[in-house]
Symmetry: C2
Subunit: 204 residues, 2 copies
DNA sequence: ACGTTAACGGACGTCCCCGTCCGTTTGGCT
DNA sequence: AGCCAAACGGACGGGGACGTCCGTTAACGT
């Protein structure tokens, strides 16, 4: 699952790195990215110095901790793109991505926070966005996606989905699921829908 | 605009209180509620002790700072309820409330954060929610609001609207406006829309 | 004009987080 | 077994926010 980092010769170093990543994933998912570095270290059972040695900056820790999630994102998008019905594929992407983000609070923050900054997640992010753009174009051509849809609307929905909070993860996922359903309704082409207010440029 | 608090005998005390509230409103609106108390004091041109004397807890400062916004909320809802067309009234409420929240980042936090806690905003909040509930019932009866709409959906939309962030206030408002447009699309009754995933209980 | 007293704000002690240094431990290799 | 270097983690100094105390100021009433 996680790379072996062969350049780490000693076994304890390798294991500590794994434990740190594990702790970071757990904490980031549950509490978001504002978790203090020391707490990650504490949960991993290592000293602060060890943590900083492996990950000099918090960004690097975040990037490595969410590598799996980014892969999952990619997989979801690829599956959606592979669907012969582009609209159904797009719906699938929206539902799955919303759920992914609902289950993992930190990932959403990482994904969106780095939108305007340089980060390690950036490459995967642009790949994902590109792929979805193509899918949307096809869905629009098929007449199922509303014609005034723009890519920024997806960012908008993702940001909006991030705003949804609930006490338990299950409630959160349920709420997010319903939100995705509403979003899909809003995006579906409909003969008598009113024109939308202009979109705002969210991507830098 | 703000009450005179006649029990404050000295003029400097009254003016300081006003300046503190003014500073708090400005900072909360722009940066959210995480602004340090000292910074509010600094901007108001008073010492920390003075701030704490007037508002022993941050909650009390927040409550007083957003009294105007709560009144605005109430006005918006009342206007919506007064509209002879309940669906148009509901749309108006959604649009205006979203814009209000977009213009004032702190207010959204205050409004939603206190959802599960006891706070001074609570009474106005329940009034607002009640009124909107009646409006929604009428809009549904008129066949314009989708029949599977529940009140929690509005909370969901409000939370989602909170998640939208942008660099400038203008961009933020534009994005929020578009979001409101999409939300209205999603809520409008439509003969061929698919059933929605079940709603999650967001209100405690 | 003056005294009283409410109100002011600088300064303090505490707490938490950050990032780093350095003495100690321990894994791997001969 | 013993060495050495790499890895460890306790401890430190810096910075920021919090909430409070207390000496000083100045507004109001006489």
């Amino acid at each position: 699952m996680t790379d072996q980092l062969p350049h780490l010769a000693r076994s304890d170093a390798r294991e500590n790195r794994a434990r740190i990543l594990d702790a970071a994933r757990t904490l980031f998912s549950a509490d978001g990215l504002d978790v203090p570095m020391r707490e990650v270290a504490r949960r991993a059972g290592v000293g602060p110095a060890t943590l900083y040695r492996h990950f000099p900056t918090k960004q690097s820790l975040i990037a490595d901790a969410f590598a799996d999630q980014l892969r999952a994102c990619r997989t979801i998008v690829d599956e959606g793109c592979a669907d012969p019905d582009p609209w159904r594929g797009l719906c699938l992407v929206i539902e799955k991505i919303c759920e992914l983000h609902a289950r993992d609070r930190g990932f959403t923050e990482a994904f969106l926070a780095t939108f305007h900054e340089v980060a390690a997640v950036a490459p995967d992010r642009v790949y994902t966005v590109r792929a979805v753009a193509g899918l949307a174009r096809r869905a629009k051509a098929a007449g199922r996606l509303r014609s005034d849809f723009v890519l920024d609307d997806l960012i908008l929905l993702l940001m909006a989905n991030k705003g949804i909070h609930a006490a338990s993860t299950d409630t959160q996922v349920a709420a997010s699921r319903r939100f995705a359903g509403l979003a899909i309704q809003a995006l579906e082409a409909c003969p008598h829908h009113a024109p939308l207010p202009p979109s705002a440029r969210l991507t830098s």
